[in-house]
């Protein structure tokens, strides 16, 4: 490996990943590096430092890539190095180190009702206005003044000429200044992250995520209605919820295609939260969850993007349903679903990814990890179409020696 140039390594790894996604046989099973705070664990910095000290986290990421030598990696900075921006925005949907959690405890999303039960009509009538004047003011202090904006589609001629006055009030000016500061901070962070990615690419490391998206139901259950509200809406607001699923699918497709246009990877990361076996019935899944998600997947595939869906939890009863996608155009990453079973249903249809269990990576021995990886490589890797990864990437607390064992396994065992 070390006698190859960065460009050679990059080309080799990119080809290996592309072949796996296209269900072709590869010289060995490719390895993915996906994590949240594990690089901080490796580098011995706190999670709080990881969120605030960009250079320290770049270095932690560099150490992780050098240690694992993965075939692809997620540019974690984009969702870890956000502490200063969160503060400047006064973001309210997360608690994070120093702001609700301890220095070495991961940020956590606050499951709340951010859209009320009786706001479906407002959402459907004018989604952008609902976001601008209702939703955004609820989720970030910097956006609060937007609640006082006039209803823009009603403005014309001299009324339109007076619209700027809404932007000149003290509260609005303060809010806009916070947004400006947050935007500059995020640009600064992203500038560093992109430079990191460029340096790493020159050394042969390939990025895995070219964009991210939510399943339409998760978009509602996580970020708008809250999990409880969304579950109740399956009964109380069934028709409007379905109408919203269709609407939000269109929004997600349009935004993701535009946002991922200039990124080096064509993979769109779609982590799923509420579609798993124990949460909703197969009938509910097939009505509320799968059709709008499939619409999103098809929208991406038609735009030549590769949806990489992380099926959290156990999705055994979903396998037959979700097999209904074009061959070789997506990646299905399973957390707890048995990979042998997944391979038997989905092998030959979609590339599989996963799923070294978090419990073994955290509490097991390198031998335990080796054994699990060997089995995954033999079973899921058979005939190609498999990428080795943790069940949800590397858990924050994984032992270093266990991560090394996982990384070595792809070079040790033939599929």
């Amino acid at each position: 490996m070390l006698d190859k140039t960065g460009a050679e390594l990059y080309a080799e790894r990119e080809q290996r990943i592309n072949d796996a996604m296209a269900l072709k046989e590869t010289d060995r099973v490719p390895l993915s590096m996906f994590s949240h705070f594990w690089p901080a664990t490796l580098a011995g910095i706190t999670f709080e430092q990881a969120m605030y000290d960009y250079d320290a986290f770049h270095d932690a990421m560099r150490q992780t890539l050098e240690l694992m030598q993965p075939d692809m990696y997620a540019l974690n900075q984009t969702y870890i190095c956000v502490g200063p921006t969160l503060e400047l925005m006064n973001f309210k949907q997360l608690e994070w180190p120093g702001h609700g959690t301890e220095p070495n405890v991961s940020f956590q999303f606050l499951d709340r009702e951010y859209m009320k039960r009786d706001e479906y009509d407002a959402y459907l009538a004018d989604t952008t206005d609902f976001f601008l004047r209702k939703y955004m003011p609820r989720i970030a202090g910097a956006f609060e003044p937007f609640a006082k904006l006039p209803y823009l589609p009603a403005q014309y001629y001299f009324k339109m000429i007076r619209v700027p006055t809404a932007f000149a009030g003290d509260e609005m000016i303060e809010g806009l200044e916070k947004i400006l500061a947050a935007g500059k901070e995020m640009r600064k962070m992203m500038g560093g992250a992109l430079k990191f990615a460029k340096d790493m690419a020159e050394r042969g490391f390939v990025q895995s995520i070219g964009g991210s998206a939510a399943a339409p139901f998760d978009n509602f259950a996580d970020y708008l209605r809250g999990s409880k509200g969304a579950m109740l809406d399956l009964f109380r607001n069934k028709d409007k919820l379905l109408e919203c699923m269709d609407r939000v699918a269109d929004c997600i497709i349009e935004d993701t295609i535009i946002a991922s246009k200039n990124n080096p990877s064509r993979q769109i990361f779609i982590p799923l939260h509420w579609g798993l076996d124990n949460f909703m019935s197969p009938e509910q899944f097939e009505l509320f969850f799968w059709p709008p998600l499939r619409k999103v997947l098809m929208g991406f595939i038609e735009a030549d993007l590769i949806p990489c869906v992380l099926w959290e939890g156990d999705c055994t009863t979903r396998l037959e349903t979700i097999a209904d996608i074009p061959v070789g155009k997506a990646v299905y990453w399973f957390e707890q679903t048995d990979m042998g079973l997944a391979k038997s249903v989905l092998g030959g249809i979609t590339c599989l990814r996963g799923n070294v269990s978090s419990s073994v990576l955290i509490t097991g021995t390198p031998d335990d990890v080796d054994e699990e990886c060997k089995k995954l490589i033999k079973v899921a890797g058979k005939g190609g179409g498999f990428i080795l990864d943790g069940a949800i990437g590397l858990p924050d607390e994984a032992k270093v020696e266990n991560v090394i064992a996982m990384a070595e396994s792809v070079r040790k065992y033939a599929n």
Binding site: S106, F235, S359, A391, E397
Partner: protein
């Protein structure tokens, strides 16, 4: 339960017909039905809901809706009942202390388990989220539960569960309680790691575990 309307109400609740169930509840109250009879109807309906959940006919959305219907019905009849609380009714039932362990703020799994234990007649004390080992110990000393349930969604919960079990042992209380863990990525490996007595993958396994340990609740 011979009354036809009572039977109808049981089925409306069990079949997730929220509006009709609440309308009929009001009708029964207006007709002078005994509040305790309505609470009996709730229990009968929840037996059906619990059974359907166990049989994989119902899932989390049905449990949440049933909980909402029950809350609304309780609110409708509570003003009519003399000053006796559910907790007093359940004083002889098995007691389960439950909480999401230190560092973890997730509560959906814990709430569902709490709800299912509650409707199965157990006296559940919910300590909330981000519960420290000391808070569990204090509550064990104060309430003397038979069972402690540790919930956690994040992988950080593995260590928090282990620390909590160890702290309970160090406080000399390990023999007093059975400890069950659950949530997120908890599995057999984590059961061994934490030193708890049992782990479960869903709310019904928590109920069944409690039944096995301390029998059916009153």
């Amino acid at each position: 339960m011979s009354n036809e309307k009572h039977e109808k109400l049981v089925n409306l609740i069990a079949d997730m017909e929220e509006d009709e169930a609440l309308t009929l509840t009001q009708e029964l109250i207006d007709e002078g039905a005994e509040p305790t009879a309505i609470l009996d109807i709730c229990r009968a309906a929840m037996d059906i809901v619990g059974q359907r959940f166990e049989d994989n006919e119902y899932f989390v959305p049905e449990l949440i809706l049933a909980g909402e219907v029950l809350d609304q019905m309780s609110a409708m009849v509570k003003p009519l009942i003399a000053d006796t609380t559910d907790e007093e009714d359940k004083v002889d039932s098995g007691m389960v202390l439950i909480g999401t362990v230190h560092g973890d703020l997730h509560d959906i799994g814990k709430n569902i388990v709490t709800f299912m234990l509650d409707v199965n007649g157990y006296n559940v004390i919910d300590l909330g989220v981000d519960v420290s080992p000391q808070a569990f110990i204090d509550a064990i000393k104060e309430k003397s539960p038979e069972i402690v349930g540790l919930s956690g969604f994040l992988t950080l919960a593995f260590d928090s569960m282990k620390e909590t079990v160890e702290a309970i042992s160090e406080a000399g209380l390990r023999e007093e309680v059975k400890i069950m863990i659950g949530g997120g990525q908890v599995d057999e490996q984590i059961l061994n790691y934490t030193g708890a007595d049992s782990f479960g993958l869903n709310a019904m396994s928590a109920v069944n575990q409690c039944k096995e340990w301390i029998g059916e609740a009153a």
